[in-house]
Symmetry: C2
Subunit: 263 residues, 2 copies
Amino acid sequence: MKEPPLPAQSAPTIRLLPTVHLHAVNAQTMKVACSNCNLRELCMPVGLSPQELARIDEVVATRRKVKRGTTLFRSGEAFESLFAIRTGFFKTCVNAEDGRDQVTGFQMAGEIIGLDGIVNDRHTCDAVALEDAEVCVMPFDRIGELAREVSALQHHVHRIMSREIVREHGVMLLLGSMRAEERLAAFVLNLAQRLNARGFSGSELVLRMTREEIGSYLGMKLETVSRTFSKFAEDGLIEVRQRHVRILNAAELQRIVNQQSAQ
Amino acid sequence: MKEPPLPAQSAPTIRLLPTVHLHAVNAQTMKVACSNCNLRELCMPVGLSPQELARIDEVVATRRKVKRGTTLFRSGEAFESLFAIRTGFFKTCVNAEDGRDQVTGFQMAGEIIGLDGIVNDRHTCDAVALEDAEVCVMPFDRIGELAREVSALQHHVHRIMSREIVREHGVMLLLGSMRAEERLAAFVLNLAQRLNARGFSGSELVLRMTREEIGSYLGMKLETVSRTFSKFAEDGLIEVRQRHVRILNAAELQRIVNQQSAQ
DNA sequence: CGCCGCATTGACGTTCGTCAAGTCTAGTGG
DNA sequence: CCACTAGACTTGACGAACGTCAATGCGGCG
């Protein structure tokens, strides 16, 4: 799966995807260290002493490559480890007994997945790679041991879980009280902001997911997603070409998000 | 706020609300112990040694009474403690800049609130008592210290946070893919099941929240909540008299929840 | 006893889902 | 290199579900 370059009309070349390449190793899993990882400030606590950092290297047991379209874990599987995304892009989704399916989030480099598995020692959702990906495998019992010694790590784990709870509050607000345009505007801006925080363009993005997956996440049908994209494009807020989106008027998108639906 | 008895037609008197009364003390806050709390198995890890249990008593600094309609904490306030609900009933809600408001959950005895505040040392939602309530105040830094020594407590904290994440996944599924009847059926069954787990009737419940609050939680308008209740009553699934609800046909309600909306 | 907030119910309108064509694009194989 | 195909996306027409607005009922509390 090669990385499609931006369409020709794109401005000065801005990398659209992480270019984190270590010494390429062809194994499925490999040894690795946080201490020299350039995503460290995203997934590890800051202000650690070199000694502490060295100890935390022990937490990351291995890395694992996940091919696009395959699952990192699946609902019902035994929970053993959290995963820190090094490269690539995931979706997580829960499935009801009746076959219904809900995307609960999209995760990118530096983010942690698997937190749902802690409570019952079983994963309760699927994590699917939307592009070829690589994750750091962090056995949860080792995280626990180390957190007991390094209080900064303990607090970091708490913060990561709390952040996920707060994020989901935001999704509940979106699903519970926003209309289609507001949802999609919020979604695009959120993606752009997260990519921007990782050093990529805050205005050009390549969606890694289908319209249907966006719709599942936002509680709308794929046709409505498509129509709403088209409407934004007509209004000059964005350019859309398949999965390539360019934000032309972020301020107006933000206004749409914030506008009370009672109009 | 006295406890309204069940309507006369109710079967053998089943207590509808927790009757947890310790030595009544009229102070706003008071000293307390987990070791002899009858909600222990709900909010504390199981299988602790007496020594460990004694140490955990230290975590609970004080109790605090919260009058109906007042807030336990408010979005923006400094985060210092988690709260374990001893008696009473709360809602938590997030508010967007534009004044929109979303109920993110309803909490009852034995449940923990405040987890959202950990990530930024500030609360990010409001917790409002829907009836007079009493909570155990657990300073978070003391939880942290103790969790470093008592690994069962550490794991328990992780599990509580993970459980909240999983619960919110369920809410996202509900908001993202269910229709009004399915949402309300799921809501009623969930409430009944949680009350049942606390020793109350699993079929008679007194709603502590307004139709509008239910609607906010479920992503629908109060009129739709009311209409859907009426429809369930017409169909003989429940009896509704204001906030008193009696479940007549739980199996059919469950079928409604599980039915694929594509019909 | 009367008031006020909450709940119910009806009529109507909007938004979004459904169904159905049809188009585009990336990937495949000749 | 080009044709072919399958999956993803777009667009339109229509209808159902739910929101909106408004009137009325009910009950708890002062």
